[in-house]
């Protein structure tokens, strides 16, 4: 097949694959992050440019992100490097901005490229949707009217995602919609494995759009309650971005305005720059900025789920076992 860089010597191929695997793991754990990122980028670049048939948009995206993460000093925190030599509080802004822009570029150009008659007619989706995929597409729905509507929806979704993550008002909707969109792609199209990788790459970029400054939120919990203690331990474990300052109600000499002692015993309290939330609303709002939950937490904002959640929270709160010495405070 045609090569761009010229033929890779066959004896070099195992070395490239091996270097890719080792550098990938080392980069993942943030050990000698810049060196690992450089080796990983080089292995990807050789694969991408070594042969035309090895090109994939997913690999191109992975390469772009690896280069930018390497330049952005991705090992500055939550890494073995940070554990070894301390967390660095600041990283260069420009590669981080480029990473955030990558979401807009990928979705934006994907939407623009689909603005052609063949795609809008539904023919492209008909050729790719439900063939060899995890979920089959019902034959009864395989009509041009349906396919055309799905095609238009996919264009609108990608166009929306290209801009929504930049808007504080639309960002949360964008996260929820993006998750649903990528799940639909993975389930409905082939090859699922590559599409899973693509989705995870995109989600890693979503995370950069989270507006969650360190220590910007205050969580007040009933530290006389063991059940609440285990919940708070989970929160502390999963709050990788250190957004929340978690304090027991009894340790606070002065409560924030609008929060009483009775409130803190009745339900978990969350104070953010935007206002106050309690109980299920506090949990839901907390989940919106945790890396493990920010994508699906927006779906908890529906009216029915909020109502059910509030009732469930109240039921659990009333039955919780309290006044057991807590280790989380």
């Amino acid at each position: 097949m045609s090569q761009w860089l010229g033929p890779l010597p066959s004896e070099l191929i195992p070395a490239v694959i091996g270097a890719w695997g080792v550098a990938g793991f080392v980069f993942l754990f943030g050990w000698h992050t810049r060196t690992a990122g450089g080796v990983l980028s080089l292995a990807m670049l050789m694969t991408l440019l070594g042969d035309q048939q090895l090109y994939s948009n997913h690999l191109y995206l992975a390469l772009t992100l690896t280069v930018l993460l390497t330049v952005a000093d991705a090992g500055a925190a939550i890494s073995l490097d940070a554990r070894r030599s301390g967390t660095r509080a600041e990283v260069p802004l420009w590669p981080v901005t480029l990473l955030k822009l990558q979401v807009t570029i990928v979705y934006g150009f994907a939407a623009l490229a689909k603005l052609n008659l063949v795609y809008v007619s539904g023919a492209v989706l008909n050729a790719h949707l439900g063939w060899g995929s995890i979920l089959p597409f019902p034959d009864g729905l395989r009509r041009w009217e349906v396919m055309s509507v799905l095609a238009l929806l996919s264009i609108l979704t990608e166009a929306f995602l290209a801009v929504a993550l930049w808007s504080p008002r639309l960002r949360s909707v964008g996260f929820g919609l993006g998750l649903a969109f990528h799940i639909a792609i993975v389930l409905g199209m082939d090859p699922a494995a590559e599409l899973i990788v693509f989705s995870l790459l995109m989600f890693s970029l979503y995370l950069l759009h989270l507006d969650a400054p360190v220590d910007s939120r205050l969580v007040i919990w009933d530290d006389s309650c063991s059940f609440c203690g285990s919940t708070v331990r989970c929160l502390r474990r999963w709050d990788w971005l250190r957004v929340h300052r978690v304090v027991g109600a009894s340790t606070l000499e002065e409560l924030p305005a609008g929060v009483s002692r009775a409130d803190t015993i009745e339900a978990l309290q969350l104070v953010t720059p935007q206002g106050r939330a309690a109980g299920f609303e506090a949990v839901r709002t907390i989940l919106e900025v945790l890396p493990i939950s920010f994508l699906w937490a927006p779906w908890l904002g529906g009216r029915v789920i909020r109502r059910v959640g509030a009732r469930a929270y109240a039921a659990v709160a009333i039955r919780r076992r309290c006044r057991i010495v807590d280790r989380a405070s």
Partner: protein, 102 residues
């Protein structure tokens, strides 16, 4: 300067690819168009023809690769006794390329 340079490239490359009118690399054109999907066969000296399963010779069948130009020389090497590699486009009557093996 680096920021502007990289950003300009990130925009300029896919923007240029948009004008190509067909699937192309570095353009973020995932599932945006249909490929041409040519058929390949080999003809032997006695006139018999075998269909070639293209997927057996490619890591990935991409419509943006000029297979009719690039694949026949390789097929000639794979099929020792072939005298010609045949290329036909599905649904396009009369469009055909015959590549004589050396």
């Amino acid at each position: 300067v680096v920021f502007l340079g990289v950003f300009a490239l990130q925009i300029a490359i896919p923007a240029a690819k948009l004008r190509s009118g067909s699937q192309s690399r570095f353009g973020w054109q995932m599932f945006a168009r249909l490929g041409s999907d040519p058929w390949f066969g080999v003809r032997y000296a006695d006139g018999s023809v075998d269909t070639v399963q293209v997927g057996d010779y490619l890591a990935r069948v991409r419509s943006d690769i000029d297979l009719p130009a690039l694949l026949p020389p390789h097929l000639c090497r794979q099929f020792d006794e072939a005298v010609t590699v045949l290329v036909r486009w599905r649904g396009v009557e009369g469009r055909a390329t015959d590549y004589p093996c050396p």
